[in-house]
Amino acid sequence: MIQFNNVVKSYEQGNNALNGVSMQIEDGEFCFLVGPSGSGKSTIIKLITGELKPSSGTIHVNGYSLERIRKREIPYLRRTVGVVFQDFRLIDKMTVYENVAFAMRVVGAREKEIRDRVPYVLELVGLENKLSRHPHEMSGGEQQRLAIARALVNNPSTIIADEPTGNLDPERSYEIMALLQEINNLGTTVLVVTHAQDLVELFQKRVIAIDEGQIVSDGTEDEEENTDEAE
């Protein structure tokens, strides 16, 4: 579960990136986070992954209280949150298999667990036939699938996808979003940060809209339309 209570985040320059944000994303939920550039979306992701600490307010992520989390606990928090980025962030020198296995090795998994788990996750994302390929030999869509496999392999309870379709054509974007929905169906909480309004409308999930560091709406796309019409 992700819970923000009246969270304020100020940077050293004095400007507030978040102004009293409160929200709650339940376990197993699929949720979009939308908003213009500079609205505070990236700050929310950094707060969830423990990269930043809130200036005030409280944040609970998968059982960790982030306003008072110790530095040495952060790696364990991150094992519960898989992150997928727009630019994939894969290691080009490693093969598909090694990229995913690497994520398990660096958290101390046993070789047997790695041998069992990596092929399963790669099959889940549809890359079971490309184990020995290198990222630069693959399309953008395939690279993003690989990034999702890496985020999934340590079995996190939450996946955060930061503009996962930003570098992809519409068809591949739809496939990636469908894959995230499939992962959500298996019980993983999914938070997608996106600018892709068409996909948000298509998937009909909860949408949290943020602007100037404040939540301006929270509900499904249909609810928001109804609210707009009523106004």
Partner: protein, 295 residues
């Protein structure tokens, strides 16, 4: 940390060396170059120190014996001289031997043909253990009954001591500066290697690797590179030193410079090179990686 993990971390450390071959090569080359400079200067300073010590040994005190004493009485004074703490060696020179030296020193000049042995005194040539105590020992020699006069070159002895002190200070300062500069250069090279792998480190942080887990392979890598660099530098230093000493020994005009054999420097050199290699590798990677850990 499980045994399985330690094996993986060590393997990763060694794999990193080959995976980032060019940066590893650069780090080893820089380590070799820096340690060679430090090692060569240290060897030179050590040899100069020994040469100055040897030159200093040649400072002697001439002890003149009362001419009224018989030969046997004059010779017996040697025992008293040798009993003094700071006396390394004393050599008796009879008045006849002194005359021979005198005549030889003046190229058999006929002007001195009238000088007889009886005009001269028996004497001792005294070599000291520590020339800095020359004045004190000279005083003790003059207190010995039968000694009428001494001749000691205080200024020369002091000059050598000053040269030795200056040499010690200058070499310590130069070696310290060279070590610091070497550390900075090597640490910078390691930093470049880390910069090359910042994405890898960021991914490790992102998926939840602990700092210790991230650091250890880099430390293994840094340690190995440092030790390889130190071993190569040591081998080159040995070969280069031996070749230089042989060349100097073969040139007559350079006989004044007598260098010690590398075997005499072996243990301190091995220790210094190994310590420097280890320190540079481990500290270099530790400090360099810190910058990329704050993610």
């Amino acid at each position: 940390m499980r045994l399985n993990n330690i094996g993986y971390l060590l393997k990763e450390g060694f794999r990193g060396i080959f995976l980032h071959g060019f940066m590893s090569f650069a780090a080893v080359c820089v380590t070799v170059a820096c340690l060679l400079i430090v090692g060569s200067f240290s060897a030179l300073a050590y040899n100069l120190d020994i040469m100055v010590q040897e030159l200093n040994r040649t400072s002697e005190i001439l002890v003149l014996i009362d001419s009224s004493l018989s030969d046997a009485e004059a010779r017996s004074i040697g025992t008293k001289i040798n009993l003094l703490d700071n006396v390394l060696q004393s050599t008796f020179v009879s008045r006849e031997e002194a005359l021979e030296d005198f005549v030889a020193d003046h190229d058999d000049d006929p002007a001195f043909s009238g000088v007889r042995a009886e005009d001269l005194r028996h004497r001792y040539v005294v070599v000291l253990e520590d020339n800095t105590k020359m004045e004190q020992t000279d005083e003790q020699l003059r207190q010995i009954p039968g000694v009428v006069k001494t001749d000691a070159a205080y200024e020369l002895a002091e000059g050598f001591s000053t040269i030795q002190d200056v040499l010690h200070m200058v070499s310590a300062a130069v070696i310290a500066v060279l070590l610091v500069v070497s550390l900075l250069i090597i640490s910078n090279t390691v930093k470049l290697a880390m910069y090359d792998r910042r994405d890898e480190i960021a991914i490790m942080k992102m998926v939840g690797a602990t700092n210790g887990f991230i650091r250890l392979p880099f430390m293994v890598e840094g340690f190995t590179l440092g030790m390889v660099g130190a071993a190569l530098a040591f081998g080159l230093e040995w070969a280069g030193y031996d070749a230089l000493v042989q060349r100097i020994a073969a040139v007559d005009s350079l006989q004044l410079f007598s260098f010690v054999s590398f075997q005499e420097l072996l243990i301190p050199m091995v220790m210094v090179f190994a310590a420097a290699g280890m320190f540079v590798g481990i500290v270099g990677s530790w400090t360099s990686i810190r910058k990329f850990m704050d993610v």
